[in-house]
Symmetry: C2
Subunit: 238 residues, 2 copies
């Protein structure tokens, strides 16, 4: 029986934690999504308050692996990839997978900031006007820039995978990007996706993997909603 | 003679590239700040256009180390730390250094977004009103949250260093954070720094290291200015 991981993440959203959930599910690693269990939120808040051993995390997701407590999504994924078949072997592949993952994280931060341009301390309702202005530039410039980049990365890597023509956790992250854009910006994405056939195919292939398909159909997958990163506000999708 | 690195970064700003410059300078690694040499910008733009070998970077900084082309600041630093004494040995120290570095990167993104809340595609002058609103929350909530966190990290690590009580590249990143806040938000920082004595002392200690002191006094250190991440707009500092 392999060691079970303990994941701490906000229990009601996909958020950044979803990239970790997808990786753990894809390799079939046993894990507990702790904050969704009784008392799990308390345990997470204690870790964030620095009441655990060692370095306190700044924010979730947090992965406990034995005595090691790791935070920062891309850091967790890079570490998991040293233990599980989540990237092709070799230093260059590891470095490039991490590089792409960090670029996905940058994109997710921009997606989040579309509905929170003024500050995370304010509600969306308090920054709707700024959000509309932000969304215009995001749809016109940032989605094409990031999606065009990822599409070219896939093309150069043989078309089906982001790194070295083989499966990696970056494929999972790109699945989440495509899934989220389709949820949050269905109108804009219905146009943008035409220029991203490889990403669209990758999204379909990832979703069809038996373990991912089972996960997506399970209650373990938190549905998209308007508390997460990808929020469907029709007024921002035009 | 060790291999010379080639760094590609915007030639007129410190920006994210400064964390790489500081690391290379601190270990005395030979490097060329390529975009500040004749034809260097052309070479950087070719890399960004995907005309180099292998994975194209999404954005600078980019480090060429032999045949390896690495992008994403935190990725570059983690890789450099496998080659140079930039972090104490051991998996936990490496993972935690990277975790802290990524948290610094998150903070730098927020610092940047204070003057560009609506979009990077617009000038500051086109989003001044939103920037003032954003700055209010940034000064009142985000600086205390991040600086308080880093101060506690230092306290738990023995007071003088961020990771394992020993020098690491995270110390350099925190130096840059303190240096930048002092430049961009002198009024707000003159209050916040009172609650961050360890960060202030770390900033002084890093600046006093012979190789860093020589670097800071040299023309290789680009001065702060209003094109970088840390910009001094008095109207945002109140």
């Amino acid at each position: 029986m392999p060691t079970a991981y303990v994941l701490y993440y906000w229990p009601t959203i996909q958020g950044r934690g979803e990239l970790v959930r997808l990786a753990l599910e894809r390799v079939g690693a046993p894990y507990e999504d702790a904050a969704r269990t009784p008392r799990g939120m308390n345990a997470m808040m204690r870790l964030l308050a620095g009441k655990g051993p060692g370095l306190a995390p700044f924010a979730p997701p947090i992965l406990k692996a034995g005595k090691l407590v790791i935070a920062q999504t891309a850091n967790i994924l890079a570490w998991l990839a040293t233990r599980h078949p989540l990237v092709a072997p070799g230093e260059t592949n590891r470095v490039h997978a991490h590089q792409l993952c960090l670029t996905v994280m940058d994109f997710l931060a921009e997606v989040h900031d579309v509905h929170h341009p003024v500050g995370t301390g304010l509600y969306y309702e308090d920054q709707k006007k700024e959000a509309r202005r932000c969304a215009a530039g995001f749809l016109a410039e940032r989605i094409p820039k990031f999606i065009g980049y990822f599409e070219r990365v896939l093309a150069r890597s043989g078309g089906k995978h982001a790194v070295a023509g083989r499966f990696s956790y970056v494929d999972l992250a790109l699945f989440q990007v495509v899934d989220g854009l389709g949820y949050a910006f269905p109108r804009a994405w219905s146009r943008s996706r035409r220029k991203a056939p490889r990403l669209v195919a990758l999204h379909r292939a990832v979703a069809a993997h038996p373990r991912i398909a089972a996960y997506l159909a399970s209650p373990r997958r938190v549905p998209f909603n308007e508390d997460g990163i990808f929020r469907h506000y029709p007024e921002l999708d035009s």
